[in-house]
Structures are given as C-alpha cells and as structure tokens.
Symmetry: D2
Subunit: 339 residues, 4 copies
C-alpha cells in the first residue's frame, strides 16, 4: 500500500509521517518528485490509518491497484536506485558489468578483471554455478570459482555479480558476491525468488527464455513482496524462430519496463545476439534506449573459452566498444535534456 | 555405457553376463527385442571389461554416442515401462490421469476422484504446491492438500501424481505421491532434476514453456544420469504467437520422442489448448499419435475452480470424451498390427 | 446478411422465401438443420425486406455480427460441402489428396497418380508453379506441368489440385485444375484472394507461415465476400522456435476452425512436420481431430525429388499409412455416434 | 558474377576493363574500396573471359558463391547508395521518411507533409493501397490518394514512398511515387518482386511478418536478379509471443544485414513496437545501430486516424523525437571515427 502526501502538505508534515511509518516493522520506500509517496511493503491499511490518524487530512492512503504492487511505478513513481557501495544502478551513470561466462581459473578471472576495468566496467561478471543444457557440460568451479572471483574483483576495485541456481547455495553465493543474478531459466523458479526476496542483496533478474513482460514484472514481485527492493531487470533476448542470432534482443523492453516499474533495467547484448561481431552495435543501441547499464561477456582468448566462446569479446573489441559506449552515454545526457 | 549381446550368444550366456553386471553397484537396465542390450548407468568401461573378461567374444561393450546417453534409444532399444504397482505407463494400455488443477478441499478432491475413476482414469492428478505467475494468486494447500489427495486416491483405488516445485519439499511430496510431476517452468531447474534423479520415484517431466525437443531430452538426462530411470515425458503445448489457444499443442513431439528415447510420453491436452471445448478432440488425437497416456483437468464445477477453470472439463464432458478415447484406443491396437 | 426461418414456419413457406431470394442477383447459401437459414452474400437488408414483405412474420432478417461474415458459422450453421463432381470435401468421407511437391515429368506424375490412387486418394496434388525461397531454385514446369498433371489425373480418375501464385496465371491454372491451392506465403495476398473470389473454383487456402486463426478466417472472407463459397482451409503447420520439425503442426486449428466457420478444414502433415517418418502418425492423428481430409506429398524416389524430398513418402510407407488411415476413419464414425 | 581487379592493376586498366564491360548488355555495378570490383548482373563467365582476354592477368573473374548472389557483399563490397535525386539512402546522412499510415484526404496529407518537413524528414510516406486483415476495413483511396500525395510531396519538396500490393497497379504506382514499398505480407510474393526487379525504381523491402534474415536476403535477390539494384531493407519487427508490443523490433537485423549485404537498411519503429510512446526511444536506438534511416508514422490527430492511430505520433512528439535523433546522428559520426 502507499501513503501519498497531499500537495499542500508541508515538508515537515511529510517528515513526521515518514518518521511514524519508520517506527513500524514495515519496510518503507520513499519517492520524491512531483509527488511525495511512501510505499509500505505488506502494510495493513487499517493499522496505518490508526498510526497516521492525526495526519489523515494531509495524506491519501490506498492499496496498490496493479497486480505487481511493489514493482509498479504506482508504488514508487521516482526511479529506484540500486546501490552497491558507491556504484549506483538506475541513476545518472551507465554501468557496465563485464567478465567471462564461466570462471575457469584464478589467472583467467584476474585477466578478465583487468580487461573489464580497463574498459570502464564497474562490476565483474562470471559464473561459478552454470546452468547447462547437458548434465555432462562444464557446470562451473563452484565455491572455488567464487573465491577466485572475489579475489579478482577486490584486486581491481570492481564489484561482483554471479548467478545462484538454487536455494541451497544462496547463502554461500551471497557470502561472496555483491549482486546475485537469476538466470533466464529460473525467472519463474518461484521458491528461489522468494528466498532471495528475504535477503537484501541486490538481484539482477534476467528475463525468461520466453518470458513475457507481464510475467517478468510478476517474477520481480515474488522478490519485492518479500521485502527485497533491490531489483535490476536484465533484458537478454527472447526465443523466436530466427536462427541468425542466438536469441532476439528485445530492446523495446527497456522503455516498457521503465514505464511500468521503478526498478532499473540493463541489457545483456551478449546473450541477446550470441555472435560477437554484432554485440558492439547492439551495446551502443542499448545505451540509446535509455537503459541503466549493460552486462557483457569478455574473454582473453574466446576461442579457448569453456563456454559461450562465440559471444565473448576479445580485449581490443571490448575496449573499442567501450569507447563507443562512452560517446553514446554523453549523447544520451544531451538527449535527456531535450524538451 | 552399454553391453550388447552378440547375435550368436545363447540366452544362458546373456543371463550369466547379466548376473555379473548385477553383482556391481551400477544400475542395470535390460532391453530385450531384436537385440539384447544391458545398459549400465554411469558404468566405467574398463571395470566392466575386466568383469566380463571371459565373455568378451559374446558381447560388444561401448560408450553411448548421443549426448543424452541414458535417455536415448541406443541405451535401451525397447520401450521402458514405468510401473506404479499394477499401473504401467509405456506398455499396451493407454493410461489416463485426471483431476483438478488445484486441490481445494477434501470434498472437492474426493468428488474429482469419483469422476476420474468413473471415466476410467487410473491416476488422480491435483496440485498442492502451485506455481503461479503472481505471488498473490492461490499457491495451493500444501501438505494439507497432499493428505486430502492421498485419501481420495486410496478411497477410489487410484494412483496419485502431484507437482513438486523445489528440493526442500521433495521428501514431503514423495512421502504422499506415487508419481512426481515437474512443471513446465521447472524443466530446466537442474538442481531439482538432479535431486529427483537420486530417488527412484516415477517422474513426469513436462516440456518447458518454450522447451526444444533437444533441451527436453537433456533435462531427462539430468534425472537419468543420477540413476532414476522412471521418467515419463509430458507434452503440454509450447508458447507461440497464436492467441486462440493458451499454448500450441505440439503432437508431433510424440513420435519424435518415441524415436529418440525409450521413455514413454503422454499428452496434456488441457494445458495444450487451454479451452475446454477443444480438449476432447485433442485428447482423441493424442491417442491417435501413439502416446502412452494423457493427463487432463476435470472439476465438478469448473466455473468455481480456484485455478484453470476455463480448461477444466465437467463430469459429462469428461465421461463422453473417455468413451471416445476408449474407441480410439481400440482402433490404435488394430493400427499397430498393420504391416 | 441472413434470413432465418422462424421455428413455426412451414417447409412450404421456407421454399417460397427461398424462391424469392433466388430471384435476385444475390448469391444464396442454404443451411438446414435445427434451423433453416438462407445466407445472402452482399445482400442489402432494405431490398430483402421489401422482397419478403409478405413473409416478415415468418422470418428474421439481420446483418451478420462476426467481422468475417460469410465465413462464420452464423451465416451457415450447417457444414458447407465443397464438391468436385462426386468428390465431396466436408461431408462424411475423409478425402486424401496425394502427389509430389513438384511435377517433374509426365512419367513422374503418372507414377505418382498410380500410387495415390492405389492408396485410396481421390485427388492428385502437384505443383507446376512453385514458390521457392531462392530465385535460382527450380520454379516448376509451368503450363507444361499442368498438362501432364491433367493427363495423369484423368488417366487414374482422380481430381486435381495445384497452386496458383499470381492473378496473371489464374485463368490458365483454372483451365486445367479442379481445385486451386493458395500457398502459405500468399495467405494475405489480398488481390489474389479477391480474384479467386470472383471465380467459383474450389479453393484450398493454406494457413500462413505465421498466420493466426483470426487472420486466416479473414483471408477466407476476402474470397467469400466476392461470392466464392467453395473454400477449404488447410492447416500446414506454423513457424515456431522448434527446429526438430520444419513447422509445428497445430492440430488444434481443426476443432477451432470447425467451431468458427462452416467451411471444411483438412490437414497437411507433410509440410506440418517436414520429416517423412513422423508423417504417418501425424496423418492418423489428423483423422482423429475430425478433419475432413488431408493432403500429403508422395514421390516414387524421394531421394531424387527436385523439391521436398525429405518429407515425401515412398510408395510402401504411403500405402501402409493409408491402411492405418482407413482404420482411423472407421473409428471416427463410431466416435461421432457417441452421445 | 564478378570481375575483381588485381592489386597491381593500374586505375587506367581498371577503367579500360570497365569500359569493355559497359559495352555489353549486362548491368554493371562498380565497387571501389580496398578492392575494385565490377559486379556483372546475370553475366556469362565465358563471354566475359573472351571480352576481357587481353586483361586476364590483371583481373580475377569468378561466379558468386552466396545463394543470394547480387544481394551479397561479395558482389559489391562497398555500400550501395540508393539515390532519389539528391536524397541518398545508404550514405552519410540518416534519412527519415515520415507520414500517415493511410492517405485520408488532400488536407490530411498536406498537413502531414508540413509536419514531416518541419522535423527534417526528406521523404513522405503514406498508403493509397492498404493491405488490411479484413476485407471490410478501409482499403485506401487508390489513385486519388496517390495524386494527393504527389501534390503534397511536391509542395514541401519531399520525395515520396508508397506501397504497391500487386503487379496490376505497379505501373500506376510507379507513375506517382519515387520509392516503392513492398509490405511485410508481400515479402515472398515472388511474382511481384520479379515485376519490380524489371523496373529501376528504388524499392523498400519490408521484412516479412515472420521472415528470417535468410529469406529476406533471398527475397531481395528476386528483385536484384532481374536487374533492379536499388533496394532498401526495412526492419519492421517480427511476430513473437510477446503481446506488450505489436511486433518485436529486431534491431540486431541492422548489423547482420549490413554484414551480409551491400544494400542499405532502415528501421520502422512504428510497426516495430506499435505503441506511440515507445517509438521515440526505439527511433533513437535505431540510429545507434548504424541504420541508414527510418520510416515513421505521424498524424495530425492520431485519435481520428483511419488506421494505425495507436502507433502514430502527434506533431510535438515527432518534433521532439527528431531533435533527439539529430543529437544521435551527430554522436554516430563520432562513433564511426573510433578505431
């Protein structure tokens, strides 16, 4: 439910209302802009009305109307910023996450971190637990990989994102990583979403292999309704009949999600197209949609990668792409100022 | 790996080889037909060669070539029969599983069991843990529902199938049910598949919402490679652009799976089309593809169902459909005899 | 618009009304069953009311409500029978059309006609004008092919169906063939549909490569609204992400079209799956959906076919399949009698 | 076939070879860059070898290897520029085509031309012959519409693009328009493509509703193989399961087509997403993919449009979008310079 301050309410009243709300056990999310709105996760309207009884003429209290309540713009009209220390996703900066598909060795992830950093990425990506179509394919290094990745992230001053595949490993993965990734195959693994919802870890929620926008928003709601409001949507392409690309990158998801939800959205052009040479133009286009960032696969020697080689960028391709991205980010700042 | 008896080997030799194989800790799967083949799950070729050293001229020992080894026809050329006491899936009988989408009460599931039985179903279906797009939709009665369903199954002499959504509840669900169902959203929930692979429970593996035949076979392999060879494929329609139906039922999956795998396949016309009036003709067509059975949703009062009302059959529609299915089953026996 | 006889109107009155309607220039379609309905193609309601002024208490006159007026069941509640002399599509018989993808020579089409006939087909299929993805692929023998095919059809007492690709060749093709086929790529070639609508030739309208049921019904309406009511729908599979089959055969289209339209629907399992060995079970399943017939590709030597070899059936496979189809047709008669 | 000048051949030799080639009846396409290549449409290799016999050591003559010969980059490694007087598509400028879905009246198209021009568009779009799902929907004003549109184009100094639906109207449409458009439903109307191939009119070839990249390239080849090398590809979204947008705009088609073909590609974000508010970000993203232009729908009063109202932009939205596009075009120039 939400508590909306009336237009004529003073900032002092707003503060007083906020203080009262914070005195409860409910989680409160503040949104300032044209309107001041306090979102109350799982709040009970009767209890809140009693709590705010002396301010009832300065506020409007009502249930959320969307079926994805806490994920909707209605709950929080201004953009949510997902923060990992000083790295902010959803704000003014375009945040790049780069790294290998799989962590293969300490050397490999160290080298990836060096390259990622050199291009301007703020976050290192890499998989220690890999969902693979075949049970006989490389399944990731597990905890050993997480250790290597933490070491590489710290060495280069990067934050870290990695996938969790099941509830059993959630605590372990959270221990090492800054951001949890939910893979496309798990977008509707509802028990896993709920478990993550009970943490406060930032979580990057990939769109399902054939997930609709509506299902994706509801998947986020499984997390948000448990109290974790640090959600990042990741558009990674959808399954279509076209075989020239691995998936069909649906960049229109960016403005749609931005309209319907307050959570930030980033783009994964690597899985989105699956062919390295088409990734730089799609990365540049991703910036131009207004996305808050992107996540890309790089590898020192893609032809030797243990997984996803064909879509991994070499150092020089990546660095050139990042210079293009920088120009585009600057252009987007001008574009946002156009009235 | 497989051990194939040479054509000239006597039945006695075959029995001797089998006895040796059974003396190991490996799981053995026997296939008799034009050829006698013993599949050895996770067998190590060197150890088996030593074991069978005195029979090396009567056998051929080799690794499996498909990437879904234990799921492939190569491993077991004859059809696998999945048995739940006297109910056999994959054999001569066409097995119907019927019941409500969700268990709603003891009365409701009892009434469903009565109707299911009256139509000739051998197995009662019903959900106690429901995967729902929205976290606010009815999520199932949980263990209470399982108890009701066991009671109803026993009262009417039916076997029971129900969905498990996560590893945490696997033991609980196995305690009550005869067959576990893996839902479409979990076809690639690999950790859950592996956990089920470690049991010997019969498992009905639904095709993913946009699962390819190849991914589906490999999903089965996640189960089979852990030693559980009691797998039933369930075709339940795939996601396409068409909106006249809930999904597009891909009946061609039946002969394809039957060619590539030894595990039986059944059809779910209820989710396949999603509109009750089109379900009877699709059920009849399912029999005609040569499927080993079907799973359908019924409800005493579909318009009051807590979930999937539009695709649930009323008693009279279901009973009429089952009479049609019976005629079709008979016709299929004649068709199988045609040379 | 339609003229519906009231329940209490006598057959004599019905006949009198029909005679009056037939005295106009409008095309009249009669439907007898629970109700007697006369459909009036492009009829003007005011003129018809004046015409029938002395019977206004025995009839109900109104515009059609569906947006595919003359294609809808409302216009003609009973099934439309499309007749080619004594061959009736949409009636009690299951009609098979068989033949090669392309007519290659007189010998080849003669041999195909012999095989088609031997299996019980009533209609010979074959392409003289071929729509091919590449301009450099074999485009068909043109009029020469039509001549060969007519000769073969007549020699074996078969009717003939062949594709027309453009308005320019319509007259030519109509001169030779009994049924015109509109290919999947032309389902929304609206000018071609209108041109065919101005003839009275029976026309088999294939579903578009990604045509929705709704678009398909409206495509038929482009033909019907011009006065040609001899339409046969052909389900031939739709484009999806699955690559194990050439297309995904959507058998649920059969009951849906039968519910929404009075025109008959047949199935093309050859293009529907595209792999010869999966065609017989899908042909059998097609009968079981209640379709009015099927169209299949056969070839004396599929491995040497100039087009569609992989989905063409050899003589023995075809003949065995037809024996199975016969058993299934018989079963369907029993099924239709079940109340 | 192509004639490639050897690296050591002088420009004079190149000119002499070109003069000889031009002396034949074959159409010649010149490509200068790292290499000098002369493409010879439908050229016979034996005749060309005789023709160039005294230069055989300075040239390499060979057949094209792709199955879409004249459309492939191999035939013409440098970009093809499609010219309409001084408006060049495929060169340094980003060309916008804007206008209504349907021409509704002289006033309406005049007003659209004024708006289009004000935003910087060089080309006016508008339909006089409209392919509509239903035969009862507005089908366009026909020749009257073409006259209005020519008048409006001339009044505002714009070029004109409009759709042709059938061969019968091709001459008529060509009489009025500067560029012909082939709609998505006609991408594989092969007879129409061939007819257009016999003209020299610039032609914008929309991707089919579910056209693959490969089919699209071959559709272009139907035009190119007849001698018309003034082809523009138009990405307009593909049909997928997602319903939040009208189609799924596949921006990755831009770099793919640019790699495989020398013909320019532009984007149609209006049909690509189908919802007006998501069109500006997708237009900006289209520029960022490196496309050569775009085609968008505008209308003075979208809510009163006779077709495609929901995806038509109002004047102020369009003008703001075009200011954003201008910033993006400038940024792309910088990006192209990055090494």
């Amino acid at each position: 439910m939400i508590v909306k301050m009336n237009r004529n309410a003073t900032p002092q009243t707003g503060q007083a209302v906020l203080n009262l709300l914070k005195s409860t056990t409910f989680q409160i999310k503040e949104s300032y802009g044209k309107e001041t709105i306090f979102g109350v996760v799982n709040g009970q309207i009767d209890r809140i009305k009693i709590l705010l009884q002396e301010y009832l003429e300065q506020v409007e209290i009502h249930e959320l109307t969307s079926s994805y309540k806490y994920t909707s713009r209605e709950f929080h009209p201004s953009d949510t910023l997902v923060k990992v220390d000083d790295v902010v996703i959803g704000g003014n900066d375009f945040i790049t996450m780069a790294g290998p598909c799989s962590i293969e060795s300490l050397d490999q992830i160290m080298e990836c971190a060096r390259i990622a950093k050199a291009g301007g990425a703020k976050i290192l990506r890499g998989g220690a637990f890999k969902p693979r179509t075949s049970p006989y394919a490389f399944q990731g290094l597990g905890e050993e990989g997480l250790k290597y990745m933490r070491q590489a992230s710290d060495a280069y001053g990067l934050k870290m994102i990695t996938e969790v595949m099941d509830e059993a490993n959630l605590e372990l993965v959270c221990h090492y990583t800054d951001i949890i990734q939910i893979g496309a195959r798990n977008m509707q693994n509802f028990r896993l979403l709920e478990a993550i919802g009970k943490t406060q870890k930032p979580v990057a929620l990939k769109r399902g292999i054939s997930g609709t926008i509506d299902e994706w928003l509801h998947a986020a709601e499984y997390i948000a309704s448990q109290g974790n409001l640090n959600i990042i949507f990741v558009e990674r392409g959808i399954r279509t009949y076209e075989t020239a690309t691995r998936n069909t990158l649906d960049l229109s998801a960016v403005p749609i999600i931005q309209k319907l939800s307050h959570f930030p959205i980033i783009v994964d052009p690597s899985h989105g197209v699956g062919v390295w040479e088409y990734i730089p133009p799609m990365a540049v286009a991703s910036v131009a949609t207004g996305a808050s960032g992107m996540i890309v696969e790089i590898h020192p020697t893609p032809e030797q990668a243990w997984s996803d080689g064909p879509q991994s960028l070499k150092e020089d391709t990546y660095l050139k792409m990042m210079r293009q991205v920088d120009v585009m980010v600057e252009a987007m700042q001008k574009i946002r100022e156009i009235e």
